[in-house]
Symmetry: C2
Subunit: 221 residues, 2 copies
């Protein structure tokens, strides 16, 4: 019975996500679902990404948080259209919450929509939002055992950003182990090392993201 | 309908948790539910705690992970009774999973049972396991905005350990802000600063934990 309920929820979500995906394709917007544990650096990465890409493409952002609008305020300071979703307790975003934000955006003028999910290395990976790419962030401060312990998010993501590389001298973490364990789970995953604090790897990351727009056959509007 | 299902699940869990709590009281075991984001340092804290308290009380451990038995192996190396729960995808432990481990333990010989929950700053806080105390860990690498963004776990916990204090010079995080924001959510929470890497604050933490056993009127067996 519990399993059936979960299946119904996921099926209902899949239907809405498919509709979202159709709209994004029609409007020629690349949509990225950004996922990680709390504090791995989603908002910081987004700030760096906007700084780097803002003059070259039109970016919109959906901020998912259980409570507070701190992240949306950080993004709004970049003069980018941003909508805050407060889930009020729920541990992940779903297709319906994304759909409810659509009237806030002019998709005809957008190239890239970034969805920053609730900070959680588990549940967000289970819910399709209709996005084109899922990207996971893992901070080196979290440790190199995380792919083996939380495999789904590594399995579902097209890219893994290993963040806070500048902390490597001060933590017990092997980037090689993270790479090897992630590739065991997902042979296709792109792995990039970044530091949002020092800017290391941000241009390579932005190149990867821009390539996704080209790969989808979308031009910059 | 969805809300009713959630309510039914939580009510069923509350009943089992109450039975667990009764058994723990009868057996005079203090039970602690240890919760945090992935990689905040739950297992490392547990290793340090066992090293410090092992000669003075009998400790047992339940390790909750989605997958893998790496954490249970780390604890077993300390020659402590330990049971690994693999949730197989579920993002939190519940009362029933805890009950299913009982035949592995000799409660008459235990003083302290530590339950290390799945790494997740959201969902574990919603599920009563029958524990006496909930303890949250937040690493300074996660940032000082976490209490405001994930309030439930700070609201539910009797103690907050601010871990990885040794990383403070290398991250943008104010311990004062974590303290102030946590106390806004929970005026009764005990806040301790620790570093599992350097050992800072571990003896104060172990004193707090030992006091909980005394406060519950339990002796050391």
């Amino acid at each position: 019975m519990k399993i059936n309920v979960v299946r119904n929820i996921l099926e209902a979500n899949a239907r809405i996500a498919a509709e979202n995906r159709e709209l994004f394709a029609e409007k020629k917007v690349l949509v990225m679902n950004l996922m990680s544990s709390p504090g791995a650096g989603k908002t910081s990465l987004l700030e760096k990404t906007i700084d780097s890409l803002k003059g070259r493409m039109a970016i919109g952002v959906i901020e998912g948080d259980i409570q507070s609008s701190q992240d949306a305020e950080r993004i709004a300071a970049k003069d980018i259209p941003v909508v805050q979703i407060n889930t009020g307790g729920a541990c992940h975003l779903d297709g319906n919450m994304i759909r409810d934000t659509f009237h806030h955006f002019d998709f005809d003028a957008l190239d890239l929509l970034v969805v920053e999910n609730v900070g959680n290395l588990v549940c967000p990976a289970e819910f399709d939002l209709g996005e084109d790419v899922k990207v996971a962030i893992l901070s080196v401060a979290e440790g190199d055992d995380k792919p083996a312990k939380y495999p789904l998010i590594f399995h579902e993501s097209q890219a893994l950003l290993i963040n806070k590389i500048d902390l490597l001298p001060y933590v017990d973490c092997s980037v090689e182990k993270i790479r090897a364990e992630s590739l065991k789970i997902n042979t296709q995953i792109a792995i990039l090392e970044v530091s949002c604090r020092t800017g290391l790897g941000i241009s390579e990351w932005c190149a990867w993201l821009t390539d996704r727009i080209a790969a989808k056959g979308l031009g910059i509007k």
